[in-house]
């Protein structure tokens, strides 16, 4: 009777948000991300006191900031991962336009902090690097355009996405920030590859990369010096790379002990680009292998989960995010062990840096949203509803 009088109690059209999130989220990946964040705090304790003392702060000033930004990043990650792919797409596109505008205005409003490249907005208490936020936005944009191109009578999205990427790369090169530019190009390439790039074009792309590299080597002294430095077998021990290599050797299997390392005092970028060297020196190969395992786990597992995905947009966007994440880690660590020429690149979640941390949180949140377990029409397959 009550029901007849007051109407039925409002029923939800699905299960509650949190349980559903917990049930469908990739728990391995999120655990790995949390562990990485923990490792980042741990290494920050070791690596950042020299910087703090140089800048006249309390020893753990940067660790506190890292923790605050980390909490913000984790919140952003969880919130993003709760969104539906459509919402992620819409917000991502909007975010892309905002970040792009910020990037385009950098030459006017940005600061270079005396580092020779205008990459930051100074907000007083913190600085923001728009290119970090632009990356996930651009990946969403590209995935959207590429997915649209796979509709019948759809727009030529691959071409559009290429133009968009080129424009972004152009702005990044203006800063100059060739590292991010390469990363963005790489993300586009991977998505294009998964979206079905013909092998002839892929080959042509590879050849042109070699060509451009040769041109750059012959024409840019800066670039040539980097490559030469990489190719000589003997590393000058007074360079950053030399210190990093020495630190890894010094650390051995089990490290020299917490707080006993020396490399953090010699390397200006010990808390960002060469944090892996600090890890190797103080905690040894054990921790380094653990970190590598975490990164590999996140990347490979996300890619494997995306294999089952039937939605083109989700698949492409997920691929772009996972690969960018993985490649960033590979470049960072590859430089420290001299597998790659010197290039500054932060280690996601581990290196110190507010922008990179929060943008990384958002990106991983998106990735988690895309890799959530959802019906993929298997039942339809079983019932034979789809025509073949």
């Amino acid at each position: 009777m009550t029901e007849m009088v007051f109407g039925a109690a409002p029923m939800r059209d699905g299960e509650p948000i949190l349980p559903r999130w917990w049930r469908t989220i990739d728990k391995w990946t999120i655990s790995a991300v949390l562990l990485l964040f923990g490792v980042g705090i741990l290494l920050g304790l070791a690596a950042s006191p020299p910087l703090a003392s140089r800048n006249g702060f309390a020893p753990f000033h940067y660790v506190e900031r890292q923790a605050v930004f980390g909490l913000l990043a984790l919140t952003a990650m969880v919130l993003t991962s709760m969104m539906s792919p459509q919402l992620v797409r819409r917000l991502g596109i909007l975010g892309f336009f905002c970040a792009f505008a910020a990037l385009a205005l950098l030459p006017v409003l940005g600061t270079d902090f005396g580092k020779g490249a205008t990459r930051w907005y100074s907000l007083g208490f913190a600085s923001v690097q728009p290119s970090e936020f632009l990356k996930p936005g651009l990946i969403i944009m590209t995935a959207w355009l590429m997915a649209a191109s796979q509709e019948i009578n759809g727009p030529p999205g691959k071409l559009f996405s290429f133009f968009v990427t080129c424009v972004v790369v152009g702005f990044l090169a203006l800063q100059p920030d060739f590292g991010q530019a390469c990363l963005v190009l790489f993300a586009w390439g991977v998505m294009w590859f998964v979206a079905g790039a013909p092998f002839t074009l892929l080959g042509a792309l590879g050849a042109s990369t070699v060509l451009v590299g040769t041109l750059a080597y012959n024409n840019s002294e800066h670039f040539a010096r980097r490559i030469d430095g990489f190719l000589t077998p003997e590393v000058d021990p007074t360079t950053q790379l030399g210190y990093a290599t020495g630190a890894i050797r010094e650390g051995g299997y089990f490290g020299v002990g917490v707080g006993e390392g020396h490399v953090k005092w010699s390397l200006p970028d010990a808390h960002t680009d060469f944090i892996i060297a600090v890890a190797a020196e103080e905690y040894g190969l054990i921790l380094v292998l653990f970190i590598i395992l975490l990164f590999m786990g996140i990347t490979v597992r996300s890619l494997l989960r995306l294999i089952r995905e039937r939605d083109t947009f989700i698949r492409l966007a997920g691929t772009g995010l996972a690969c960018t994440f993985g490649v960033q880690a590979i470049i960072n660590m590859g430089v420290a062990v001299r597998l790659l020429p010197a290039k500054g690149m932060t280690l996601p979640f581990v290196s110190y840096g507010g922008s990179s941390l929060i943008a990384g949180g958002i990106a991983i949140g998106m990735l988690l949203a895309f890799t959530r377990t959802r019906p993929q029409g298997e039942i339809g397959d079983i019932l034979g509803r789809r025509g073949r």
Binding site: Q150, E151, I152, N153, V190, F193, V194, A195, G196, E234, P237, T238, G242, T245, G246, I248, R249, E250, G251, G252, Y253, A280, G284, L285, V288, L289, I292, L293, F295, M296, T299, V300, L303, L304, L306, I307, R310, T312, R315, T319, C323, G326, I330, M333, G334, V337, R338, L339, R386, G387, R388
Partner: protein, 596 residues
Amino acid sequence: MTRTPLRPLARILSARQKGENPDVIERENIRLRHEEMREKARQRAEGRLVVLALLFFCIFGVVGGRMATLASSEPAEPTAKASTSRIVAQRADIVDRSGRILATNLRTHSLYAQPPHMVEPEKAARALAKIFPDLDEARLIKDFTGSRKFLWVKKKISPEQKQLVHQIGEPGLLFGPREMRLYPNGKLAAHILGGYGFGREGVYAAEVIGTAGVEKAFDDFLRDPAEQGRPLELSLDLTVQAAVERVLFGGMRLMNAKGATAVIMDVHTGEIVSMASLPDFDPNNRPLPLIEGDRADDPLFNRAVQGVYELGSTFKIITAAQGMQLGLVNAHTELDSQSPLVWGKFRIREWNNKNFGPKLSVTDMIVNSSNVATANLAMMIGQQRQRAFFSELGFFDPTPVELVEAPGAKPLLPKNWSEIVTITTSYGHGMSASPLHLATAYASLLNGGYRVKPTLLKRQGPLLGERVVSEEVSRAARDMLRQVVTRGTATFAEVPGYKVGGKTGTADKPNPRGGYYEDKVIATFAGVFPADAPQYVVVVTLDEPVETSGSKPRRTAGWTAVPVAAEIIRRTAPLLGLRPEIEAATLDELQLTKSR
């Protein structure tokens, strides 16, 4: 505008005829095509995603593996680079025949400056000039304050100096590890070892390369990584070499000579057990070559190998041996010795215008050192056969000994080997050869008649070449040499128990302006011991000796070179492991207890 064809056309046409809406059919068709396309794209993407995942897996694996290899390798700090110590450790030690070290490596530091890093360049320059008095302060200040980015200050510094430089506290003064060559015995065997220098130089290491002597001759061997630091074993004996250098130095001073050289060679193998040349130098601090003056007076000059001298009467035994070998004479054949011998416009005289009478046996010719008799024997032999014999004994080529200096030391030969050259060469004038040539020839003649090759490397067993004279001739020659010592010109060479045999030679020094000096000689003693069972050949040569204990200065070898050689034999024969043959004392001389 392009027209999109209606698909499937047949169904649409029939639907139109029936009046149905063809759009439904077309939409259905589009949906099916779309699904098919997506399915294809999905399958393709599946494969490519697997490829990507594998790729990432592998790259992460490579990074991890590289981390592991780095972590397991040796730590390399800027001060101690493992990879560079590998380079320097490649230069092997040099040891003597018993394994005693003649040359090894020592770790020191080099001092270099990086002026851009300097805080107080002037102060640093002043402090450096105080620590290293040989550095010029003004020049250092100019270098440190100029535009130079890098400069070497000192190639090698001692630990004390390093500490002093440390105490300057200048961050722009830096040290690099340096491996240097150390000759722990100082001047000993300096001419044989030679010296070293730095080749390519870096901050963290420098190549050590040999610049002279065996260091240069065996540079490739010493630096060959494939040899894994196997030491170079020389034939030298450190103790014998030390004794020889000591005695020779004393002899040179006593005889007022300006230079001296001695060679001891194993007669059976050609191994040079000792080779000394005075004046000498310290290879740890090899001096620069003399720019002016006679090259032969340079301490760097190895008289035993590079010095070519007219070796005088020591050649007579060669002539005698060849005469016996050819069957022209035997030890007792009488030779014409009427002095002077007139040949064309030349008059051949004996030393000090002596006259040994009309006839001399071959043995007495050697014992008395008769120029005339030797000249007569040489004329019997003839120039062709004499030349061939000298060539066979190695007098026409540089010695094949393993020193970089050796190939440059060619014997001086007369351009035209006329009969007068045959005559003078038979008693050691007119052609010049090195003491090492003479030692080699003596070893070949006296070891039983087999040719030997001089060598500085440790060898095993007898290394005999082809035969040059017969066993009997060799024995006869040794017997003659023994008699020279017992009753001839070299009586000072008698060393009890060792049966020394040998021949003296005193040659006037040629004047560079032509002719010969009246009062400057090269005095040589070439000997063998023990004469009955030959083991070693010794050659001692003094340059411009004069013995002044008597009423008038004496320059002949018998008074100068021979006593020095005897002392060398007395000191070294026990070291060489030779037992003296002491005649047993007769019983009646022994008196154990005093009888009452």
